[in-house]
């Protein structure tokens, strides 16, 4: 497969095109509109060796733009058997295949539809891609009336369409908030992807991290000694700016708490500053905790792969907690990680009877909401510290930052963690501004790169999908002079940086614990001049001019 341009070259896709959105549907019915694999709008396929490593079937060399996807001979049988099995395993799938009335409430709720205008990105039609096949082969009416019943036969073209559009869904569940029956497109997309996997059709940006995570314990493939180097390097950076020496406990038996965070925080800016924040915070609290190299991934790309793969990757957390003999588990700032922990972990790999109900050693608060899973979110943990006044925070150190908060999809819609991060941010920063209603809390918009879509070759779709969030950021940037977008999710920290650079240039992305650690007054610290980014601590920013109070067209309700 040869492309004229590589994804990191500007010519690969056309950024100026992203500003153009046409909501006028095509003249042809969606079932007759062919799928075009346009550079910048699809993800490269997975490599057979990765699939082999995790025991996935039918790995083979192919490319989305090829005419022939080299499907196994009995591919139809495989798909139908796969559908039947999943209909029997998931009531959600069965019910969601039957009850949609196509009221259209979801249609303009998807960030990919809003930013792209492709009608097959309306959640209702995304689901119809599967439903039409379900009707054709699993329902009486569909078998008799065919197309008039909304049915269509399964063909290689349909598979291509599935691949294209099920990897243009970030499983963010925003549509399901507005659906009168709670139909959750994430469920549909998950089933669609599982079916494609049966034929060896998957994407490298998901399967490579999954294979790495299975082997090395994290998506990035960082080996144990490398992780130790990384964390110690961060500790040195913290010492450089605070003057406080920090030890990094790794694989420590007998620690009270196992700390697990997404591996994105080990590698790239701005996540690494959040990671430094964890080190500073835990040191200051004198927490008896440990990092793990075996369970060094909070995120779980298995969620974007299959229920089974999710379980296999997730199992490491409890296994490691047991091996190290900790009392409970603390989880870092991540988005989809918390969907897995809040909605799947205990069912898949629990209950962990060898652990204790999480209890903060600092405040004595018992986290009853995690009574069974024994794992809490760092924002729950920190909000509790803030409430009890256990952190000495000098919020003026963040006065150079005018902060808004991006609710990450999964903590918002698969958990409901809305106030905890806000409480923490407000304690650490004086200047906090909400984005418009309709773009925050349970109605929050995806960054455009979740569910394994955050790769460079998919940049056009990422920017399009990031448009609603980007424009909301731009709105508070114009109105309140916001220059920092705080997010408690590693994918957000990576992808929103790109989204902001495009839609709201000048706004930087930050983790929340980074803000906390900046404001944290540590015992024995030196005069703080630099923040963790080694920028001057109190750079003042100008407030916006008074006449920019009202934005002309965005309504804040």
């Amino acid at each position: 497969m040869s492309q004229a341009h590589k994804p990191d070259e500007l010519e690969y896709y056309h950024p100026e095109e992203v500003h153009r959105v046409d909501y006028q549907p095509p003249a042809t019915d969606w079932r007759d509109t062919p799928t075009v694999f346009r550079p910048g709008s699809f993800i490269y396929p997975s490599k057979p060796k990765d699939l082999e490593h995790i025991g996935f079937p039918n790995g083979h060399a192919w490319h989305p733009t090829d005419e022939d996807w080299k499907l196994p001979e009995n591919w139809k049988r495989i798909i139908f058997d796969g559908m039947r099995e999943r209909l029997q395993k998931y009531r959600s799938f069965k019910v969601f295949m039957d009850i949609c009335v196509r009221c259209g409430a979801c249609a303009d709720k998807c960030h990919f539809y809003i930013g792209g205008g492709d009608p097959k990105n309306m959640p209702v039609l995304r689901a119809e891609l599967l439903r039409s096949v379900y009707r054709h082969d699993f329902t009486t009416f569909g078998k008799i009336l065919g197309r008039w019943a909304g049915a269509r036969p399964l063909t290689p073209e349909v598979l291509k369409e599935w691949f294209y559009y099920f990897y243009q869904c970030t499983e963010c569940r925003r549509c399901s908030v507005f659906c009168p029956y709670g139909i959750d497109t994430a469920e549909i997309t998950m089933m669609g992807r599982e079916l494609l996997h049966l034929l060896g059709l998957s994407v490298n940006w998901v399967m490579h991290p999954v294979a790495d995570c299975y082997r090395t314990g994290n998506h990035l493939g960082i080996q144990p000694h490398g992780l130790k180097d990384t964390l110690e390097f961060f500790a040195e950076d913290v010492e450089e700016v605070t003057g406080v020496h920090i030890d990094v406990p790794i694989n420590k038996k007998g620690a009270d708490i196992l700390f697990v965070t997404p591996s994105g925080d080990f590698l790239a800016e701005p996540g690494i500053y959040t990671c430094m924040g964890y080190l500073a915070l835990f040191h200051e609290l004198g927490l008896n905790y440990t990092w793990s190299t075996y369970a060094s991934e909070g995120g779980n790309f298995g969620l974007f792969t299959s229920a089974d793969m999710m379980k296999r990757l997730n199992s490491k957390m409890y296994a490691e907690a047991k091996r190290l003999g900790v009392k409970w588990i603390l989880g870092g700032e991540c988005g989809h990680m918390w969907r897995v922990i809040n909605q799947y972990m205990d069912t898949m790999n629990g209950p962990p009877d060898f652990l204790e109900v999480p209890k903060s050693p600092i405040t004595g608060t018992v986290f009853e909401n995690a009574r069974s899973t024994k794992m809490i979110h760092i924002m729950e943990f920190t909000a509790d510290l803030v409430q009890h006044g256990k952190l000495e925070l000098d919020a003026s150190r963040n006065d150079g930052r005018r902060v808004t908060f991006h609710d990450s999809c999964n903590p918002a819609r698969a958990m409901g963690m809305l106030e905890e991060p806000r409480q923490v941010i407000k304690a650490a920063c004086h200047n906090f501004f909400e984005m418009p209603e309709g773009t925050i809390r349970e109605k929050t918009f995806c960054c455009g790169g979740g569910a394994g879509l955050g790769t460079d070759e998919n940049m056009e779709m990422r920017l399009r999908g990031g448009m609603p969030r980007g424009k909301a950021v731009q709105y508070v940037q114009d109105k309140h002079g916001v220059n920092v977008l705080a997010a408690c999710c590693a994918i957000d920290r990576a992808t929103l940086t790109t989204v902001c650079d495009f839609w709201a240039p000048g706004v930087k992305v930050s983790g929340i614990t980074e803000l906390v650690a900046n404001a944290l007054v540590m015992k024995g610290e030196k005069e703080r001049e630099l923040n963790f980014r080694k920028e001057p601590m109190r750079d003042e920013v100008e407030a916006p001019p008074a006449d920019s109070e009202e934005h002309p067209t965005v309504e804040a309700a």
């Binding site: 009335v101 303009d108 069912t347 009574r371 905890e420």
Partner: protein
């Protein structure tokens, strides 16, 4: 085109009743056989469908949380949008089923001059609520044909519905609300490019069918008045399995045939959202999976990469880095 096909299908139903009853004498077919058949399909079909759904388990608790979770004591939980107990989840379901909570949330996305706005838009919610509640009242009003004596609440409901006291016999408000709402829902699908694009014949057909049912009903009551006592006698006859079709005009049979079609069509169609909404796992479960263990009936052990295997692969490098080892 999709709409025309659906309209044609409904016109064929009306024509069938006209030909069958007005030109031919198929009152037994349209007045006895078809209603019995439709009622049987309706009941059996719904039961089979719901049992079919019920046979698939709910492996994971996946509520869509639409408000603050229950976590720390000083943070106020949103009990109805993010239930933490079964009772709260029932509250959420009640709000969803009785008041269409999620539709009420609707915000329309508007892109204008490069700016996005999210405007509160309750039209669909209002029309859906008007449609469903007026239909419910109309169905309850029709119970007067199924009981002797007529239950008191049916009389009360009927009087309230007809309180305008316009015309003889008096008009019912719900008749017009119903037709108005159906017309709105239809116009919304036909007049809006996006809705037209995502609609299927199966979306137009029930709307045209409801229109036909409503119009034939009004026709019988206000224009070509039907002998109500005959109709009631016939309905009671059907109920006690002593059927005899009423000797009334074809409009009644058209009405009855459309209702029969609706009943028989119901279990195989999107109208099953009536039952499905109760079973939606994103709405009817409490968000308590971290607090209470939830069992997946098909959970099974899967191959995992154990710590021992991991240490075997990386032991030398871990030792060099000074990381603790289980096996030296």
């Amino acid at each position: 085109m999709k709409a025309l096909v659906s309209l044609a299908a409904v016109l064929v139903l009306l024509l069938a009743a006209y030909v069958g009853v007005h030109l031919g004498d198929l009152r037994w077919l349209f007045g006895v056989v078809v209603p019995y058949f439709a009622a049987a399909v309706f009941l059996v079909g719904i039961v089979v469908k719901v049992i079919g759904w019920g046979r698939s388990p709910v492996p994971f608790r996946i509520p869509t949380t639409c408000g603050q979770q229950k976590s720390l004591p000083w943070i106020k939980q949103d009990k109805l949008d993010n239930p933490a107990t079964g009772w709260q989840a029932m509250g959420r379901m009640a709000l969803e089923i009785l008041a269409f909570r999620s539709l009420f949330r609707n915000r329309e996305t508007v892109l204008r001059d490069g700016q996005l706005a999210y405007r509160t838009n309750k039209w669909l919610w209002a029309a859906a609520l008007a449609f469903h509640y007026s239909m419910l009242i109309i169905v309850l009003r029709h119970l007067r044909f199924f009981f002797a004596p007529i239950p008191r609440f049916v009389d009360v409901l009927t009087n309230v519905d007809g309180f305008l006291q316009v015309g003889v016999p008096g008009i019912y408000i719900t008749s017009f609300v119903f037709l108005g709402a159906v017309t709105f829902l239809l116009a919304r699908r036909l007049g809006w490019a996006r809705m037209r694009y995502l609609s299927l014949p199966a979306d137009y057909f029930p709307l045209f069918l409801f229109l036909a049912i409503g119009c034939t009903g009004l026709w019988m009551r206000h224009i070509d008045k039907v002998d109500v006592s005959q109709v009631k006698a016939a309905v009671m006859g059907l109920l006690v399995l002593a059927p005899h079709p009423p000797a009334v005009g074809w409009i009644f049979y058209a009405h009855l045939f459309c209702v029969s079609t609706l009943l028989a069509y119901f279990p195989f169609s999107k109208l099953m959202h009536l039952g499905g909404v109760f079973l939606s796992p994103t709405r009817n479960l409490a968000n308590d999976n971290r607090a209470r263990h939830h069992v997946n009936p098909w959970n099974r052990p899967l191959p995992v990469h154990t710590y021992a295997e991991y240490e075997d692969e990386f032991r030398d490098r871990m030792r060099e880095a000074g990381l603790p080892l289980d096996k030296e």
